[in-house]
């Protein structure tokens, strides 16, 4: 067991336990905090996958903005300080069965795939990756169209969110 494998197993265990606590916690603020731990664990996975840029983008976008947005939304939409009663609806056993079936189905599909257990190939040029990504996102014969559409989507989302959630002027 190399050090990398031990780190992978520890972080995977922490992230999965945090993910389970997100969906089973009774207090909604605690769910949001467990989500922050899950997102931080996923950022560590990005570092293990030699995608350091994505790790910091994950922390900035998800933990720094989306998680704070969730905490604000939870605080603005509750009438009492403590939640009461169970947070799961009455068909929770059906949901558990469906999720388990999906997991087993995905694993079965993958086991029959011959490249399932490939090891990591060596990275030849790891320092120029960032500038390559930047150039690919703005060059006309690569990915400028999805990039610009994502920008339009973000502007539309911003304006829409402000309009929908804003106070209506009398």
């Amino acid at each position: 067991m190399s050090a990398e494998q031990i780190i992978f197993l520890i972080v995977a265990a922490v992230t999965l336990v945090a993910g389970l606590s997100v969906v089973t916690s009774r207090n909604l603020i605690h769910s949001a905090l467990w989500l922050i731990l899950t997102l931080a664990g996923i950022a560590v996975f990005y570092v293990l996958l030699d995608a350091g840029f994505f790790a910091v983008i994950q922390v900035v976008v998800y933990i720094g903005a989306i998680a704070i947005l969730f905490i604000f939304a939870v605080m603005l939409t509750r009438r009492v300080m403590q939640d009461s009663g169970s947070q799961s609806n009455s068909n929770w056993w059906l949901g558990a069965i469906i999720a388990l079936l999906l997991f087993v189905g995905i694993v079965l599909i993958f086991i029959n795939w011959q490249d399932f257990a490939t090891l990591q190939p060596e990275l030849t040029n790891s320092s120029g990756k960032l500038s390559e990504l930047g150039l690919a996102l703005v060059s006309p014969d690569q990915y400028v169209l999805p990039f610009e559409l994502a920008s339009v989507l973000l502007v539309a989302g911003m304006i829409g969110a402000i309009f929908v959630a804003g106070e209506k002027k009398r």
């Binding site: 350091g52 922390v59 933990i63 720094g64 903005a65 960032l130």
Partner: protein
């Protein structure tokens, strides 16, 4: 390499050889050395705070025409230690109904956000905690963790004033992250790299001369992020008791306090690294210890300005602060980004055509950027002048209506 040119690697190699002699495997030694390095960096951050608090109190005293602490040690240098002992021995009072885990987690998040920033600041060409090639975005990332600590502190105290203070504090911190990020992109454009140590290598001419507007926007946004005056609505004692820190006592409050002072010094160090040339100075490349010396001189000069601004300016209201951010700083930062990108690209396109000497090229580039910035400043001042509040014109003299009529002339004489 020897000790003078690369002290950290020298010490690491010596320790590695020592531990291999004890029979530990190289993997474990690697991880252990990294833990030791992180621990030393964190301790260094806290040791800096002890000195910084004394410096600030002495400066306050002198500017306010009094002496400042002078009892404990020569010139009161050890004043922080009695303060620390006092805060350690205070009683922890946890409010009823507070969410215990979140209540204890919030000051830890606040302080760790500031300590994590020190991992990427280069003290010398070879003394840097972790030479990430995405260091600038890492700075933004740990800045957003601080906002998380604030909202958790405000919510978990089970106190209306803490909650309102927390909301206002997070509104301020999250709003001022936008111009900070945009102003951080300007050195990235000018230095063509995102690693902080590489940015210092690229500063043959300090970036503050290439783009003073970016330095100013970054400085103001960082002051607002920290919650320092004139943006110290977060801890305005006369307004919201103590804002989101109301229900914290003892060492938990001490952590918020230490975190705030360390944050103020951290932004001075960031300003010095990104805009004032970091460890650059005469003979800095050959002798790294001298680089540390230059770095701290520049950081303390900026810190002096931070304290000077805190002590001399009144506090802004929350709506004035947010208006200033969204209506002035963010459009200015966006326009500056576009202008800098256009100027840089056109400079790169024009210069192969002309034959200039190699040494003059950076100076010409600096001159063009400075010129573009000055034009932008003039345009901004013109736009601000047209939005100036007009003087109220006086239409008629006010008539006194409740005054007794003048006595007849015969009575006076």
């Amino acid at each position: 390499m020897n000790f003078i040119s690369d002290p950290i690697t020298f010490i690491a190699n010596w320790l590695t050889n020592l531990m291999i002699g004890w029979g530990m495997s190289p993997d474990v030694i690697n991880v252990l050395l990294k833990f030791i390095g992180a621990f030393l960096l964190g301790t260094f951050g806290f040791a800096l705070v002890i000195f910084t608090i004394w410096l600030e109190r002495k400066l306050y005293g002198r500017i306010q025409d009094r002496i400042g602490p002078n009892r404990v040690g020569p010139w009161g240098i050890f004043q922080t230690f009695p303060d620390m002992i006092k805060i350690f021995t205070k009683e922890y009072i946890t409010p009823i109904g507070a969410d215990k885990i979140v209540y204890n987690l919030a000051p830890i998040l606040s302080v760790s956000a500031v300590l994590l920033t020190w991992a990427v600041i280069p003290f010398a060409p070879t003394i840097v905690g972790s030479d990430l090639n995405v260091g600038v975005i890492y700075l933004m990332a740990v800045g957003s963790i601080g906002a998380l600590g604030i909202i958790l502190a405000g919510w978990s105290s089970n106190n209306k004033y803490s909650l309102i203070g927390g909301f206002r504090a997070v509104a301020q911190v999250v709003s001022y992250e936008v111009p900070m990020i945009l102003a951080l992109l300007i050195p990235v454009l000018l230095g063509q790299t995102m690693g902080v140590n590489s940015l210092v290598y690229a500063q043959n001419i300090w970036f503050i001369f290439l783009s003073p507007i970016a330095a100013m926007i970054f400085f103001i946004s960082c002051l607002a992020e920290t919650g320092r005056a004139p943006f110290d609505l977060l801890e305005a004692e006369s307004e919201l008791v103590a804002g989101y820190q109301t229900e914290y006592s003892g060492l938990k409050f001490g952590m918020f306090y230490v975190g705030e002072f360390l944050h103020a010094f951290t932004i001075s160090a960031l300003m010095a690294t990104l805009f004032l040339g970091g460890w650059r100075g005469p003979w800095a490349e050959q002798v790294p210890i001298l680089g540390v010396f230059w770095f701290f001189i520049k950081a303390f000069i900026v810190y002096f300005f931070v304290v000077l601004i805190r002590i001399s300016m009144p506090r802004l209201r929350i709506d004035q602060m947010l208006n200033f951010n969204w209506k002035f700083l963010t459009p200015l930062a966006l326009v500056l980004l576009v202008v800098t990108a256009i100027v840089e690209k056109s400079f790169l396109l024009i210069t192969p055509g002309m034959n200039l000497s190699e040494t003059a090229l950076p100076w010409i580039r600096a001159g063009i950027h400075l010129f573009a910035n000055l034009i932008l400043i003039l345009i901004t001042i013109q736009i601000l002048k047209t939005h100036r509040v007009k003087e109220v014109r006086v239409v008629a003299k006010p008539r006194p209506v409740a005054v007794a009529p003048e006595p007849p002339a015969s009575v006076i004489s």
